[in-house]
Symmetry: C2
């Protein structure tokens, strides 16, 4: 056994594949399972384990991938968003560097026990955050090992469905060649940002994923899947993005001086225009209660929580969130000033995440779990399930 | 040490008073702390410990009092509301009997170690749920011991501010006379249902509570306070109750046959008309997705979660919740059919709870806690704090 962040994990004696299917809202699985397009996933859910569990809030990629590999919420590991306001630097900075991590990962604890671990991600930012360089690569930056594992094609563009499929192909090949005992495979939500459940592109994507899962399972691996967050349509009835511009609104009401940080921001914003359903508000020397009361009476906003309340409610690190956290309603995203967002790529549709309506994600295992009365509740329980399976 | 529901607690060597101030939304404390009306509470928050933590969802009295005395969420203890639909009996029944409890309480584990425990509650329903008869009584049903502890006045009506003050007086007297080592004192939210933060009646109530807390502290006890849920105004701009009648709405859309159970219901409904911000929907043999999609597009509703999703998100017992759980927005309550609710007592104002906007509650201790990086997050951490203090 190993102990990581006060949880105990079995050191596995057979191969394990843990897959994070970025942006896999349960609605995508509902659709493809109903239409019999995904025989492998269908078998996993029928003969193995299938539950709907929670991702961590804010429902973004970095906090959730790090929760999955640490088995812990952001209060423990410190990653509160893709991006945060660094008071010391007085600037918004991406949280993509290992130095931001405040907790050890299950992956490195397994490595210390001699388990051969490999992480493959679509976006390179995650490699820097979760993986030791020598045992991790990305579709963006595959290196020699990545290229040798997927020899049939060049590593795809990060804005493509194939970036995710390439990740699964690389992981499958590593298991087939006996190069790794435990693989962590993390895809990108490019497809889910662009296409709703039921759309031909979404269905084709999950069909292609299904083929890769079958390939991975044929290696004998225990296969466990979850997601980092769900995904919802964020448009008005006319199809245009449904945005509440928080900085504009607060400037009008209080004068300039409030900082709005959008934790969805990462190096890859083309598919969502940096618009998500969570924002951090910094009121500097002003009483946050004024901004809170203005935002609470703004249509499209579900919750406005002061720092300490948000930290307690969602197990977040208080020093890496705003004076206020704003969570918007199902079809609404949050922006800064209107002129700060380039909507040209999302003007014909915007799907995004970050709030409470994207908390639910699937948890799937190709093994049946015994009912214990303590069912898994979090996406970050996935390593425990995958490692403890016989 | 004792172990209860997989948590360990110290067996205390000095007296402890754990107080649940029913319906104490943080806004009440903000108001009275700002206006210097509550010197004892002010000192506790200044020199001791003061945090905003989470209550359990649905934010009602029974699930939260039971979470507090078991140190566990409803998935463990089984109490999912004040009321639930019992499939076997095919009827809505109150969850006021000990037999509904699926977990041991911290109180009974302390008793088994020879600690003299006393529970005093305002409403008698809670005595039956949490306390062994010989060491528990209520303002409603004080018995000989209750009458002897508060000899200066008859036990007050349950619909009164004094019902709560009587509870605190009885607990203080028990500690003064050395009759108990650990007291659990649980008040009623009659005042909070009737009066907003800042109202003279609310301020007078917390001033009176403050005097009792000083009296309890003079016995040398470690004093810990929390609440079972918050409280919000649930009216339209004209002051009338802001109700979404779910059974009427679903009958119109789907024909009759959907059952709506309101888990706020208890024997004491005069002050809220059985209207709260959470409802359970039973769709019998119909696909719950139809009702879900109708309710999700209904203004005033925040979340509609299928059973398994709600159970995972809020750690609820799946067999004691609806096919769907509905959570309404800050100023909205949920009803059955219009004709099933008597609004005569709430027509000039309705304050209530039950949803996500009443999750935040205070946690206060008259001792300073060391910062450990693992701060308390739940009202049901209160026994751990109270018992582990030196």
């Amino acid at each position: 056994m190993i102990e990581v962040n006060h949880r105990r994990y079995a050191v596995p004696k057979s191969p394990r594949a843990i897959v994070c299917l970025d942006g896999s809202d349960p609605a995508y699985l509902d659709d493809v399972l109903r239409s019999a397009r995904v025989p492998t996933l269908a078998r996993f859910t029928r003969e193995g384990t299938f539950a709907i569990v929670n991702s961590v809030v804010p429902t973004f990629t970095n906090p959730n991938n790090v929760s999955i590999v640490t088995g812990a919420p952001p209060a423990v590991h410190g990653i509160s968003g893709n991006h945060f306001f660094d008071r010391a630097a007085n600037a918004d900075v991406p949280m993509n560097e290992r130095s931001y991590l405040r907790a050890p990962t299950i992956l490195e604890a397994l490595q210390a026990k001699g388990v051969r671990v490999l992480s493959v991600t679509a976006k390179h930012k995650l490699v820097k955050l979760i993986g030791a360089e020598e045992s991790a690569f990305s579709a963006e930056n595959p290196g020699e090992l990545g290229r040798s594992l997927v020899p049939d094609r060049a590593a795809p563009d990060v804005y493509s469905a194939d970036a995710s499929l390439w990740v699964l192909d690389a992981g499958a090949a590593a298991l087939e060649r006996g190069l790794a005992d435990v693989v962590y495979l993390s895809t990108t939500d490019y497809v889910q940002h662009k296409h709703a459940p039921g759309a031909p592109e979404a269905r084709a994507f999950y069909e292609a994923i299904d083929l890769r899962l079958a390939r991975i399972e044929r290696t004998g691996a225990v296969v466990a899947l979850t997601a980092d967050h769900g995904m919802n349509d964020k448009t008005k009835p006319d199809g245009s993005p449904n945005v509440v511009y928080l900085a504009s609104l607060l400037d009008r009401a209080l004068g300039p001086g409030t900082r709005v940080t959008l934790p969805i921001t990462d190096p890859y914003v083309v598919h969502h225009g940096a618009l998500g359903s969570c924002a951090m508000i910094y009121t500097s020397d002003r009483d946050p209660k004024k901004a809170q009361s203005i935002l609470e009476s703004t249509p499209g906003i579900d919750f406005v929580l002061p720092r300490s309340e948000a930290a307690a409610r969602y197990a977040l690190p208080p020093d890496r969130i705003g004076d206020l956290i704003v969570l918007s309603s199902r079809s609404v995203v949050l922006g800064k000033h209107e002129e700060e967002h380039d909507l040209s790529h999302v003007e014909r549709g915007l799907r995004s995440h970050g709030g409470l309506h994207e908390v639910s994600v699937p948890l799937i295992l190709n093994r049946r779990l015994e009912k214990t009365g303590h069912e898994p509740r979090w996406n970050y329980d996935v390593f425990e399930l995958a490692l403890s399976s016989p």
